[in-house]
Symmetry: C2
Subunit: 333 residues, 2 copies
């Protein structure tokens, strides 16, 4: 592997052999419904708790991705996954079902690209033959844990975001057909003092900017290298701030190639305030929609910048501001 400060460059170009996205009923009604492999009509997925439903989303995405790769779970060398639940139980219980050696990660909503970065590193360094990288979130389990049970019907400000009920998984290998991971930039924690959990996009924007700048500096390329640069879940508020911050720092990303998973996943008429969020947002949009557009030849080079807000309800109660992070992964056909 080659290294430029905080960026890993993968000369062997690990291949995303397959990927899968799973969503809930609200995601089915969104812009990207057709890009999901499995859409559940039941928010409970037939389970008796939202936490168990979330685990089923993740398990479904992993099993589907493995099946699409023409492999069995026994073929997988490692499973790398993260989610928002306390002690990442969705990931760990899925790891129990898969029975594959497991690395649990936590980067809040940046977990999707933290996992893809590490999976690519493992393949590139010949530490694994096949790796499943995945992440998930569930609207109702996240609301219950971070804010209020959805049954309370509590009101939200327009800066708030809607946690995606979804999971995304990818199977990586050394060789084969498919989009290839060419580099990954690991972010630093950036905290600009925002402490409002209903304005995560604004809190995360500076972290996204820090990682985007690091990526272009380390790789010595400029934004025109990519057909598409997508932040994870900044939403409308955070994405606008990120664009302004980049401009201020002298980096102009043309608006037609600069987007955000949280903005595109839902339709305008869906009442999601500033947009989608959650580990399942960038995971399902990347492993569904974006990779489908790459496979169809529409996109050649993309950079996914997954953003994460690393606070907990406890740190918020203790009046801490929100430390944020972003990890960027470059995927090329």
């Amino acid at each position: 592997m080659l290294k430029g400060h905080q960026t890993w460059v993968f000369p062997s170009k690990p291949v995303i052999l397959s990927s899968a996205a799973v969503g809930g009923p609200f995601e089915a009604q969104g812009n990207l419904g057709d890009d999901f492999d499995i859409l559940h009509e039941d928010l409970w997925l037939g389970q008796d708790s939202f936490e168990k439903a979330e685990k089923m989303l993740l398990q479904g995405a992993c099993e589907k991705a493995i099946e699409k790769a023409g492999k069995k779970k026994e073929d997988m060398t490692f499973f790398i996954s993260g989610d928002l639940m306390n002690q990442i139980i969705s990931s760990s219980f899925t790891a129990r079902t898969l029975g594959v050696p497991y690395l649990g990660i936590f980067g809040a909503c940046s977990s999707s690209m933290e996992g893809l970065s590490l999976a690519s590193l493992l393949i590139d360094s010949q530490g694994a033959d096949y790796v499943v990288a995945a992440a998930c979130s569930h609207n109702a389990s996240a609301e219950k844990q971070f804010r209020y049970p959805t049954e309370y019907g509590s009101q939200k400000p327009p800066t708030a975001q809607w946690t995606v009920t979804g999971a995304g998984a990818a199977v990586l290998g050394k060789q084969g057909e498919g989009p290839k991971v060419t580099s990954a930039t690991i972010g630093r924690v950036v905290d600009m003092g925002i402490s409002d959990p209903f304005n995560m996009g604004a809190a995360m924007a500076p972290a996204a900017v820090d990682t985007i700048e690091a990526h272009f500096r380390d790789m010595n390329i400029d934004p025109s290298y990519y057909d598409l640069i997508a932040t994870g879940d900044l939403g409308a508020v955070g994405h606008r701030i990120a664009g302004e911050l980049l401009m201020k720092h002298g980096m102009k990303i043309p608006p037609e190639i600069f987007t955000d998973c949280g903005i595109i996943i839902y339709k305008k008429e869906q009442k999601v305030m500033a947009g989608g969020s959650g580990c399942g947002c960038s995971a399902s949009v990347t492993y569904g929609h974006f990779l489908n557009r790459m496979r169809s030849g529409e996109l050649k080079k993309i950079l996914i910048v997954a953003t994460g807000a690393l606070m907990s309800p406890m740190s918020y109660q203790q009046k801490e501001s929100i430390p944020c992070i972003a990890h960027a992964v470059s995927i090329e056909m």
Copy 2:
């Protein structure tokens, strides 16, 4: 890197340039008091919450380890850390203070060796110059989150364990003096159906056995290769079960080289039921006591098998059993 199933072999032998252990007042009274770099007399570390105190433990261990390596935090390429707090806030807030690109991990009490495995992989694959790997726990913050606030004075069965107030950190580099990481075995989730959070040692023992067997199978060596094999925090109950299970499977580890961080950290007269536990247990005992014994020439080859119980209070309330995991790292002089 070389690979044997779930084991990574590091031909470049990443060096542990320095390490540091930080403990609380109860740890100061234990068997290994002399092996801590910093011992706090105040369980609160001058903070106004136990969560903030835990973060100070971790930050202190990282800063001490970096200082002992003769480096500055700016020299560190990556920081890899995990802890037991919801959304691993101790690690993420420490990452904010350090300002180093950060990979958050979660493997419960196995986080210490998950971090050391990944740090070694990063160095070996030339993805980093210097990596800080760390983990921590705090007795009172863990009791509050997983069981009851300590002020309640609730009673515990003899199988229960005592969460260590401690943190351990190591600085790894490509070359230099010090113990070297030679291989790492990443564990699978093993769940034998135990659901009693006051008997974690018994729940984790089969996971430790699974990883120990995988390590010796992958490396094609036998236990006599090591001067010492230490499980993370099985405690007296779990460690005895692990020994019996290994024996049943035809693997005899001589009792004089087979120990457990949770058993040795406290004195017999300290009322810790079955022993110590928590991410800070294997982290502080390994990065303090064991590495000190290696540096003094007393130990040449050790295998640390950190064990983790991957449940959450929520999964327990929902009547799930406890999925467990163990990661093993081989360190040699």
